[in-house]
């Protein structure tokens, strides 16, 4: 498939542990994401979901196998990548405006133009009027919006999201999920959305990839044929949603149990 936005071919990633051993985070992982596709990755804790994103973004290099973005092997950080982190990654010493304007400025846009673009994006994520605030003056949900605007202003062709909403309360989360969908619909970006929440995955994605317990590899792939535009708050009551949920859960459950047993075992040792 030459047209894939992201391609991972039998990728393995090993880390050296502090004790001198080797830890395999993902093993022989093969998957691809089409241009403009919203792909969710679910799996039990410690299955290498975040590592997968780190490999695509070029922050980490694969120990074996190939990672391709837009058909090119990943060396360094590929052009047109956006990354929304699990924890707060906005810069605490920059104002909201400074944070959002950082991307264009790093790409050589003049301060004036970067500021203008940033103001547009700040309004788009609903933070108009908060330009001069520092992150510590914002709530968790607002900081997440800043992070989203910070990534999206660079017009990424690929948006990587690592459990971006897991720290938010349920109401804020639903709001943010809906906003993400409308922002994504207005762009043509491919999204890889890592989460441990299966409901979130189905509500947002075109396709859900289930990973095995670590070392992670693909266990199964499920198309989500729910119509768009979707309302995240309501879609979970549709019968089709429940069907898909049951189908995926029957696979995911085994992996979660394996991971749980392992953790219990590790704790006992």
């Amino acid at each position: 498939m030459a047209g894939a936005a992201i391609e991972l071919r039998s990728v393995t990633k090993r880390f050296a542990t502090p004790k001198g051993g080797v830890y395999t985070a993902i093993r022989d992982l093969t998957m691809e994401v089409a241009p403009g596709e919203f792909c969710a990755v679910v799996g039990p804790t410690g299955c290498g979901k975040s590592t997968t994103l780190a490999l695509i973004s070029g922050l980490e290099r694969a120990s074996a196998g190939e990672v391709l973005v837009a058909g090119e092997p990943v060396r360094g950080i590929p052009q047109g990548i956006g990354y929304v982190f699990q924890s707060d990654a906005v810069f605490p010493w920059k104002t909201v405006l400074g944070n959002v304007a950082a991307g264009p400025r790093y790409h050589g846009v003049s301060n004036w133009d970067a500021g203008k673009q940033a103001k547009e994006w700040i309004a788009r994520v609903g933070l108009a009027g908060f330009e001069d605030r520092y992150p510590h003056q914002l709530s968790g949900g607002m900081r997440k919006r800043v992070g989203l605007a910070q990534s999206l202003i660079n017009n990424p062709r690929i948006l990587l999201m690592d459990e971006p909403f897991s720290a938010l309360d349920v109401q804020t989360r639903t709001l943010m999920e809906n906003e993400l969908l409308s922002l994504w619909a207005a762009s043509s970006a491919s999204v890889v959305f890592v989460t441990h929440d299966l409901e979130e995955a189905i509500a947002l994605a075109d396709r859900v990839v289930v990973m095995t317990a670590g070392p992670g590899t693909v266990k199964g792939t499920f198309a989500v044929d729910l119509p768009r535009p979707r309302n995240v708050a309501e879609i979970r009551f549709q019968p089709r949603f429940v069907q898909i949920y049951e189908a995926i859960w029957s696979q995911l459950r085994d992996e979660v149990l394996v991971s749980y047993e392992r953790q219990k075992h590790a704790a006992a040792v």
């Binding site: 922050l59 104002t95 520092y134």
Partner: protein, 320 residues
């Protein structure tokens, strides 16, 4: 009594059997209730904050009064015990004598010339030493923090140099630079450098990995990464070290003056000691302390300007 008990019933009949939920009347009542409750809470809050301000004010007054009492007790007992000759004022000095000495210094000048000139000389040495030492400390701290090989190669040398009691270098600098300002400034530099260096180094090492990853993804090159992420993040550490190190710069200047000088507060204190003028020693110390406190205030002001992005400890703004 009977009127009151019938009121609700007549109210319901007046609404003419409206459904119990969702009627317009009910909603209006609920909104009104909410509005009045909000107003009530606001009034309570205002009342509470006024009372709290009062308590804080009273507490501050008590603290000031206690400080004054402590000063009176301390200076009074010192003065009294020397007046009554329980201890010999020749050896321990006397507050009134210190004040007198300060007064003569201010009005008639010191043995080395006017008092302000001595203060200027010493502060010059301290400030020059502080600026050079802090700048070197920051630059090397950031360099070694960023370049791991350099840190590994140089670490034993730095640890070794840090282990030396560095004030003894003052004698070396006196030989190298003679009686000029540079001997004292150099002593201050070696004292300031290490404190700032270790803090800057640590500050660079402690930068949140997530922030670095984010900046790199957003397209920051190495230069931007250093100036926009590493340095601001390490700034908290660096500024904390500046507080301690200005005191050390004064120590360096004064110690430098002991190894040979023609003017300065250190020299003044040294002279007073040699002529058994204990009050003079205390007076010199007092002037140094005042200058150090002023400098500390200036550094705090600088700190508040540079790291205004930090949440203030007394939260003025409640996160939404």
């Amino acid at each position: 009594m009977s009127v009151r008990s019938t009121l609700p019933r007549s109210d319901v009949s007046a609404q003419g059997g409206a459904p119990p939920f969702g009627s317009v009347g009910m909603q209006d009542g609920a909104t009104q209730g909410l509005a009045s409750r909000t107003a009530e809470i606001a009034a309570l809050d205002a009342d509470l904050s006024a009372r709290r301000a009062q308590v804080a004010q009273r507490r501050r007054l008590i603290i000031y009064a206690l400080r004054l009492a402590f000063t009176v007790l301390w200076l009074g007992s010192w003065e009294l015990s020397t007046r009554l000759n329980w201890v010999d004022p020749f050896f321990v000095g006397q507050p009134s004598g210190v004040v007198q000495r300060l007064w003569t210094w201010i009005t008639e000048g010191t043995a080395l010339g006017p008092l302000w000139l001595q203060a200027v000389v010493t502060m010059q040495e301290a400030v020059v030493g502080f600026l050079i030492g802090a700048a070197l400390g920051v630059v090397f701290g950031i360099l070694l923090g960023r370049i791991e090989v350099m840190a590994e190669v140089l670490s034993p040398f730095i640890k070794g140099a840090n282990a030396i009691p560095r004030v003894v270098l003052g004698s070396l600098f006196a030989v190298m630079f003679g009686l000029s300002l540079w001997g004292k400034a150099a002593t201050a530099v070696v004292l300031v450098f290490f404190v700032v260096f270790f803090n800057a180094f640590q500050g660079v090492r402690e930068v949140d990995r997530n922030l670095i990853a984010n900046a790199r993804i957003l397209g920051a090159d190495n230069r931007r990464l250093t100036t926009e992420i590493i340095i601001p993040s390490a700034m908290t550490w660096i500024l904390a070290s500046l507080h301690i190190s200005f005191g050390l710069a004064i120590v360096g200047a004064v110690v430098g003056e002991l190894f040979g000088a023609t003017a300065g507060l250190g020299q003044l204190i040294y002279n007073a000691g040699h002529t058994f003028d204990v009050n003079g020693v205390f007076a010199g110390m007092f002037v140094l302390a005042v200058l150090a406190l002023i400098a500390e205030g200036l550094i705090s002001a600088l700190e508040n300007r540079l790291v205004k992005w930090r949440p203030s400890r007394v939260s003025g703004e409640i996160p939404i």
